[in-house]
């Protein structure tokens, strides 16, 4: 179980804003943080990773206290065993792909694990390339491999697929699901893409102006009620209009409208 309680006053776009988050999520699953820009999602990530201190807060991951301001417990990012994939991937331009992974691996890297990750992420042919010579999708894979070599207890993904085109995005979503299952990862994912959240996340927290306004399974959060009947359709959800009670989906490149 991952338990997070945070309080921090932020200077947002509309002046001062309180970031007040209090949630519990299960391990070994993807939990999405959904909300508009400036809602406090990235700040929450910076606090969870140890880059920023909240005024008050408590973070417990797998029973281990990472932060408890009331007891003055503050673990460093290294002690937290956390990995963070930034929106711009933050690959080090002075190192090639392999060295980026080795740098993250620490002083005595497990070379078998490095090799395994390079193969799993299909980076064998690219390992000597500098990040700036890679495509967006390739950079994303390197960033993920670099995160996983740290064997994190919690993986933070800040809009990792936002800058990619649709085709690569869908392929990497599948890949991410496969990797999550394979390594039994606990992932917190920031995303603006409802379709992506439906596909990847088991749980979603809808954040607005620093507070969680809704949380639950994606279908509950985005539609407001749980469907009782099940229909297996492979489709991409384009838009959910709760006021008109309409879902727009794409099936076989054709747009369908469905009332519910």
């Amino acid at each position: 179980m991952i338990e997070i309680t945070l309080h921090k006053t932020l200077n947002g776009q509309k002046g001062k804003m309180n970031l007040d988050l209090d949630f519990k999520v299960n391990q070994n699953q993807i939990t999405a943080l959904y909300g508009p820009s400036g809602a406090g999602k990235t700040t929450a990530f910076r606090i969870i990773s140890g880059l920023l201190m909240p005024e008050k807060g408590k973070i417990i991951v797998n029973g281990e206290t990472w932060l408890d301001t009331s007891k003055k417990i503050v673990l460093t990012p290294k002690e937290r065993k956390i990995a963070y994939v930034f929106q711009d991937y933050a690959l080090f331009p002075n190192m090639n792909v392999e060295n980026n992974i080795l740098f993250a691996a620490g002083k005595n890297p497990d070379m078998n694990k490095v090799k395994e990750l390079i193969e799993t992420f299909h980076l064998s042919d690219l390992k000597n390339q500098k990040p700036q010579n890679l495509s967006g999708g390739q950079q994303q894979r390197v960033a993920l491999a670099r995160a996983l070599i740290q064997e994190p207890n919690l993986l933070l993904l800040d809009e990792p697929l936002a800058a990619l085109d649709n085709e690569i995005c869908v392929r990497l979503q599948d890949f991410l699901l496969e990797i999550q299952e394979r390594y039994a990862l606990s992932i917190l994912l920031v995303s603006h893409d409802i379709a992506e959240i439906h596909k990847l996340a088991k749980h979603v927290l809808h954040i607005q102006e620093g507070s969680i306004v809704k949380s639950g399974r994606p279908v509950e959060v985005f539609t407001g009620k749980v469907s009782e009947n099940h229909l297996n359709v492979y489709a991409k959800i384009l838009f959910i209009d709760t006021s008109r009670k309409q879902i727009t989906v794409l099936v076989n490149q054709e747009r369908l409208f469905s009332m519910y």
């Binding site: 880059l51 990012p77 290294k78 002690e79 990995a83 963070y84 929106q87 933050a90 080090f92 740290q150």
Partner: protein, 176 residues
């Protein structure tokens, strides 16, 4: 301040600060047996302070233009601030470091006011190239002045050329 202050003014203040009667000079003399006025170490220290902005400015502006996420990514990986600086930040601003180095060097080589004030133009000890040129011109030895000037010109031109080639990876291409 060293950037905007006239060199002679800066040199004058150095002279006052490091004069044998000042407490700082006494302290340096007692503890380290160091005399900074009219000596080569004094000349070097004054030049470093005078030229520091030429190194700091390009490095500072390049560091601030680097993505914050690079620094943060390294810190989340558990790397210390020192490791982050030496392994991530500085290697990614190499061209600026080199530019800063060259600007500082060129600025120091051509320096006149500060080194004359603090160094005192003592032959074989604190006489530098730019002052030597001035001395030769004053003594109407244009031949010598021309020779010194050409040497300085050649050194600075070679360094500039090297920097240009390094920054554009020309040397690596040549090597291949």
């Amino acid at each position: 301040m060293p950037l905007v202050l006239p060199p002679t003014v800066l040199g004058f203040y150095f002279l006052i600060t490091f004069s044998p009667n000042s407490w700082l000079s006494g302290l340096l003399n007692d503890w380290f047996d160091l005399k900074l006025v009219f000596s080569f170490p004094g000349l070097v220290i004054a030049s470093v302070i005078y030229s520091l902005p030429f190194m700091v400015h390009p490095v500072q502006s390049e560091l601030s233009s680097l993505l914050t996420s690079l620094r943060e990514a390294s810190l989340v990986m558990g790397k210390s601030k020192r490791t982050t600086l030496f392994k991530v930040l500085l290697p990614n601003i190499k061209p600026s470091l080199l530019t800063g180095f060259v600007l500082t060097f060129a600025h120091t080589v051509g320096e006149f006011g500060v080194v004359l004030m603090i160094g005192g133009n003592i032959p074989g000890k604190t006489k530098v190239a730019s002052i030597a040129i001035y001395d030769e011109v004053e003594a109407l030895n244009y031949g010598n002045a021309n020779q010194y000037s050409l040497i300085l010109f050649a050194i600075t031109f070679t360094i500039l050329l090297l920097v240009y080639m390094v920054n554009r990876n020309e040397i690596k291409r040549w090597w291949k």
